[in-house]
């Protein structure tokens, strides 16, 4: 029997492990090697140059600017998205919960659920192009036009170093919130209603209900969402590439530069694939460090129900 089950395990796992090895492990191993060469990406020739690329990384100002922007994204995007997601989900859910008492829920809760999800259905390139127009720096832009109605001077959203990166972060948050609203409402729906009824009988405020009961009970979901958002925030490539300039400059003057886009420019515009791969390895290490840190920081007692 044991021999039979071993054979089953081996045959069942052989194909996935083989695929994983060929499609994931081997490219990673190869990129570690390529990052130690001066490969320009256009010929099979490459010279081994040791850690030169990494020494150059350490001295490269644009690299550190990019790292800093990635770190900002990792801190800001999950925090704001989770806060907004939880807020909207609670608003929808609290309405539904009270409805059981015989009243009506938040008017149009079902519609909100669907509408919140809309941005998530659009491709990120489409969103980038749309928001480039929304952020038109003249007075006739959509956002500046609206601000003009309340007497605010036009803001050069994507052309000013102060606003360009926050403006892009806002787009990613706008894009992400809807999905987490759906995720959190369904997580909240799975909490038994009698727990809330009992708490209400004990006279808890809504604020207490949220912090002491709802949040701990859906903590697993929030934690996974946070890590997932953080890993996505490390990317930022697509939005920067579409919104900074044609071909993704990361401008103005590197004020929106992120590792993904810097890697892309280095590889495809400057034809320095070896150096670009070193940036990629740095990004990989950053991602792993983030995932490890996030798992450690968000470890909490799990509440069973």
């Amino acid at each position: 029997m044991r021999a039979g089950s071993l054979r089953f395990v081996v045959t069942a796992l052989a194909v996935p492990i083989l695929l994983y090895g060929v499609l994931v492990i081997s490219p990673y191993a190869q990129s570690f090697y390529i990052s130690l060469t001066d490969w320009n990406g256009l010929s099979p020739e490459r010279t081994f140059i040791g850690l030169d690329n990494y020494a150059r990384l350490v001295r490269d100002d644009v690299f550190w600017i990019s790292v800093w922007h990635n770190v900002i994204a990792v801190l800001v995007i999950p925090a704001v998205t989770l806060a907004l997601g939880l807020f909207f989900a609670t608003m929808i859910h609290v309405g539904r919960y009270r409805a059981r008492g015989g009243g009506r829920g938040v008017r149009g809760a079902a519609v909100y659920r669907i509408v919140y999800f809309f941005p998530h259905l659009l491709s990120i390139a489409v969103v980038g192009v749309l928001f480039s127009t929304v952020y038109d720096p003249t007075g006739s832009g959509l956002l500046n036009g609206a601000l003009g109605l309340v007497g605010i001077e036009p803001v050069n959203w994507l052309g000013s170093k102060d606003t360009a990166y926050p403006a892009m972060l806002a787009v990613i948050i706008w894009l992400s919130v809807g999905f987490y609203v759906i995720l959190f409402t369904s997580a909240m729906s799975s909490i038994p209603a009698d727990i809330f009824e009992a708490a209400r009988l004990d006279g808890t405020t809504r604020w207490q209900t949220f912090w002491r009961m709802t949040l701990p009970l859906i903590w697993d979901t929030v934690q996974v969402a946070g890590i997932y958002l953080g890993i996505h925030a490390l990317d930022m490539f697509a939005i920067v590439n579409v919104m900074s300039a044609a071909g993704g400059s990361g401008g103005p003057d590197n004020s929106t530069q992120v590792l993904g886009n810097y890697l892309y420019i280095t590889a495809f515009q400057n034809s320095e694939f070896g150096y670009a791969t070193a940036i990629g390895v740095a990004l990989l290490l950053l991602t792993l460090a983030f995932a490890a840190a996030a798992l450690r920081l968000t470890r909490r007692e799990r509440v069973e129900f």
Partner: protein, 475 residues
């Protein structure tokens, strides 16, 4: 990208070609020999001198031809038209045409594997960088093409029918590896009908430019200047042009040779100070630094700003956006001082849309033959009709010309031998990127001209001191 059956047919042809070695000519054989791709070893062997006036390059009639053409503002119909001529000449040849963008992504894996097309129009934002390809010896020497008799050239060689500077601009380390098909002039565009209406005339000195800007602003409320803010290389161009006109050709040599005071020299600083005046006196359209080239050009065409710097592709790029009777014309930027080294009319004119033939191509002489066809007066007229842009062929009659193209031709005639160009941007893209970034900061008032020149000089110094970057200047 390569369809398996196509690869198969190429192999079959290869076998056939080997069998017909005598007919195939040395070009074909040398293409095979370079498959190991060693440095400087292009398909440089001279072609079989067939003496055949219809096939001076000795193109093997049965080899297939693969062309990859950048399909941007000019489209790729002009290349398809030339391929039709090629097909008539070599009916047995199987022609594959791909029009596309982001060519670096399309071609990078093919250059690595060695399965390369026979000719590439390597243009647009996502183009391949030429310098590393040259360093690797992956491009064919185009000398056979340049020495071949020109199509419709009355016995002149292709080299002799091209505009001055074209061969030089595609030359790396003394060898012509790229041939720019179009010829563009760079300067400031304005609407001549608008200027006539208000009685404005184009300024010949920078002081007059500033006066005119003030007048434009006071009289109409429109912004005097805008530029393609998110691509600040556009506004760097008139800055460098004015410096070159003020300081003469030494300025170009200094920039191209990465000299230690190339960006901090008096003409460059003077020009940066002049451009900075536009910022200080608030002559630049609000929000300009946040505009894409399309947005900026559209605002300009709609009369939101009076001047925009651009190359002469602008007329074709604007297309229907340009209002009726707008009458756009180009002019070289004003002179900085009264005693500039070059006249005000001196303008930057240079080739664009570089065509390359990969050294490992199976039919390199076929690729060159296609270029030879494209450089005929007939094909050039066809191109100009489709794009309102000149090719690099000298002395052909473009026939159909709008106001923009007419002004381009006038500007070129007036500039004559003073027409100039520089090459540091093509050779050293990291320098161009950093200089453009610094210019973006200069034109938003974030840094002053001194800081600007220091930043640009630092970038030039970095490139000069980096031994891993191949140098192309004549130091």
């Amino acid at each position: 990208m390569t369809h398996p059956t196509r690869a198969l047919s190429r192999r079959t042809l290869l076998g056939l070609g080997a069998g017909l070695g005598a007919l195939a000519g040395t070009g074909f054989l040398s293409a095979c020999a370079t498959s190991s791709s060693t440095r400087g070893d292009g398909a440089s062997a001279s072609p079989q001198a067939t003496g055949d006036p219809d096939n001076p390059l000795g193109v093997p009639a049965d080899l297939s031809l693969e062309a990859i053409i950048f399909k941007g503002g000019y489209g790729d119909q002009y290349a398809i038209d030339a391929e039709a001529v090629y097909q008539q000449r070599f009916p047995q040849s199987e022609i594959t045409h791909t029009g596309g963008q982001e060519l670096a992504k399309l071609l990078q894996p093919r250059f690595v594997s060695g399965d390369v097309p026979d000719i590439v129009c390597n243009a647009g934002a996502g183009a391949l960088m030429l310098a590393p390809l040259v360093e690797n010896g992956q491009l064919a020497d185009l000398t056979p093409l340049l020495d071949a008799p020109a199509e419709g050239g009355d016995g002149k060689t292709v080299r002799d029918t091209l505009l001055p500077g074209i061969v030089e601009q595609g030359t790396f380390g003394g060898v012509p590896y790229a041939l720019n098909y179009t010829f563009t002039v760079h300067g400031l565009y304005y609407s001549s009908s608008l200027f006539d209406e208000h009685g404005w005339s184009y300024p010949s000195t920078w002081a007059e430019m500033l006066d005119l800007c003030q007048e434009i602003k006071d009289a109409t409320g429109m912004a005097p200047w805008t530029y393609q803010g998110k691509n600040p290389g556009y506004i760097l161009t008139p800055l460098v042009m004015m410096a070159i006109k003020a300081g003469g050709r030494e300025v170009i040599d200094a920039l191209d040779n990465l000299e230690p005071d190339s960006w901090t020299s008096e003409p460059m600083l003077e020009s940066a100070r002049a451009m900075h005046q536009l910022v200080e006196r608030d002559f630049i359209m609000q929000g300009t630094s946040g505009l894409t080239h399309i947005q900026a050009q559209t605002y300009w065409a709609n009369g939101e700003a009076a001047f925009i710097p651009c190359g002469s592709w602008l007329e074709s790029e604007l297309g229907d956006v340009m209002p009726e009777g707008f009458d756009m014309v180009i002019a070289s930027p004003p002179s900085l001082t009264d005693d500039d080294a070059l006249p005000q009319a001196a303008i930057r004119g240079m080739g664009n849309e570089p065509f390359i033939v990969p050294a490992q191509a199976e039919n390199p002489y076929g690729g060159m033959e296609l270029l030879r066809i494209m450089l005929s007066p007939t094909s050039s007229q066809n191109f100009t009709r489709q794009t309102q842009t000149l090719t690099s062929l000298a002395e052909y009659d473009p026939q159909s010309a709008g106001t923009g193209l007419t002004s381009v031709r006038d500007a070129l005639t007036e500039s004559g031998d003073d027409t100039f160009f520089w090459r540091y941007g093509t050779w050293y893209s990291p320098l161009q990127t950093e200089a453009a970034n610094a210019t973006s900061a200069l034109m938003t008032g974030e840094i002053d001209p001194d800081e600007w020149s220091r930043r640009c000089q630092a970038a030039a110094d970095t490139v000069r001191n980096d031994d891993s970057i191949e140098k192309y200047g004549d130091q």
